[in-house]
C-alpha cells in the first residue's frame, strides 16, 4: 500500500505547532477534518481512541518516528496524514528520542490487513536514511508530498 493510497494530501503538515503528544495528535486530526477526511462530530472520539492506544505503549517506534493510530467505525477506508515537527516532540518513544516524523492512521475496524500494509510501507521507506533525513528537513506540505511521491515511485525503495 503506497502513501498515495492512504495519505490525505490536504492534511499534510510541515511545521507542527504542537509541543506535546496530545496537542500534536489534535493538530493532525484537525488537519484531517479541514481536509474533509473525517467528520467534525467524530473528532473528539478519534482523539480519545488514539490517546487510549498510546497509553498501551507509545507508537513512537524509534528513529524520531511515530505512527499514532486507531481503528474507528466512522471511516470507510484507511485514512492518514503525515506531519513533521522540526523541533521534535516528546512522545515517550520506545528509544526515548523526540519525534519529528508522524504518520497518523485511522482504519475501519474490519480492515486489519490495510493497516498492516500501511505500516509495512512506512517502515520500509523509513529504512532509507536519506528519505528520513529529507522528510525531517521538509519546510512545506509540498516538500513532503514530493518526497512521498518519490517514495511511491520507487525513488527510495530498497
Amino acid at each position: 500500500m503506497k502513501f498515495g493510497d492512504f495519505v490525505s494530501i490536504d492534511a499534510i503538515r510541515a511545521q507542527l505547532a504542537a509541543d506535546d503528544k496530545e496537542s500534536a495528535i489534535r493538530e493532525m486530526i484537525g488537519a484531517l477534518l479541514e481536509a474533509g477526511s473525517i467528520a467534525s462530530g467524530e473528532v473528539e472520539s478519534i482523539v480519545k481512541a488514539i490517546m487510549k492506544r498510546e497509553e498501551l505503549g507509545s507508537t513512537g517506534i524509534g528513529r524520531g518516528v511515530a505512527v499514532p493510530h486507531t481503528k474507528h467505525p466512522s471511516v470507510q477506508r484507511l485514512v492518514g496524514t503525515v506531519a513533521v515537527s522540526s523541533e521534535g516532540i516528546d512522545f515517550n518513544s520506545l528509544d526515548g528520542e523526540r519525534v519529528q516524523l508522524f504518520f497518523l492512521l485511522i482504519s475501519p475496524p474490519d480492515r486489519p490487513g490495510d493497516h498492516l500494509r500501511a505500516l509495512e510501507n512506512i517502515s520500509r521507506q523509513l529504512r532509507d536514511d536519506s528519505f528520513c533525513k529529507f522528510l525531517k528537513q521538509a519546510k512545506s506540505p509540498s516538500d513532503i508530498r514530493q518526497l512521498l511521491d518519490e517514495a511511491d515511485n520507487n525513488g527510495f525503495a530498497s
Binding site: L56, G57, I61, G62, P112, H115, L116, L119, S123
Partner: protein, 96 residues
C-alpha cells in the same frame, strides 16, 4: 549454522496480525537476550530486535514465521518468543 543457532516456526494467530503493539512486545522480549534473533518470512530476513524491521514483514493472521536465534541463550530466547506467539501476545489479560 553455528552450534548455538536454533530455529523454530511460529504462526501469527491474532486477527490483527503482527501490528505495532505485538511488534513492540516481540522486540522488548527479544532484546532481553544476548542471542541475535532474526525473523524470516518468505525468505525475507529481518532483525528481531528492530520494530521497524518487523513491521516491514506485514505479517497478517495465519502467516508462518521462522525465528532464528544464535548465541549462548538462543534456546531460552526461542522458548520465550514461541510462548508469546502461543499466547497470541496476551499481556495482563489483554489480547492485542
Amino acid at each position: 549454522m553455528a552450534e548455538d543457532a536454533v530455529f523454530r516456526t511460529v504462526v501469527v494467530n491474532n486477527p490483527q496480525g503482527l501490528h505495532a503493539r505485538p511488534a513492540d512486545l516481540f522486540v522488548k522480549l527479544a532484546s532481553q537476550y544476548q542471542a541475535t534473533i532474526e525473523v524470516i518470512k518468505d525468505g525475507e530476513r529481518v532483525d528481531g530486535k528492530s520494530i521497524l524491521a518487523i513491521l516491514t514483514l506485514a505479517a497478517v493472521q495465519g502467516t508462518q514465521l521462522r525465528i532464528e536465534a544464535n548465541g549462548p541463550d538462543a534456546g531460552a530466547a526461542l522458548e520465550a518468543i514461541a510462548d508469546l506467539f502461543q499466547r497470541d501476545f496476551e499481556v495482563n489479560g489483554i489480547v492485542e
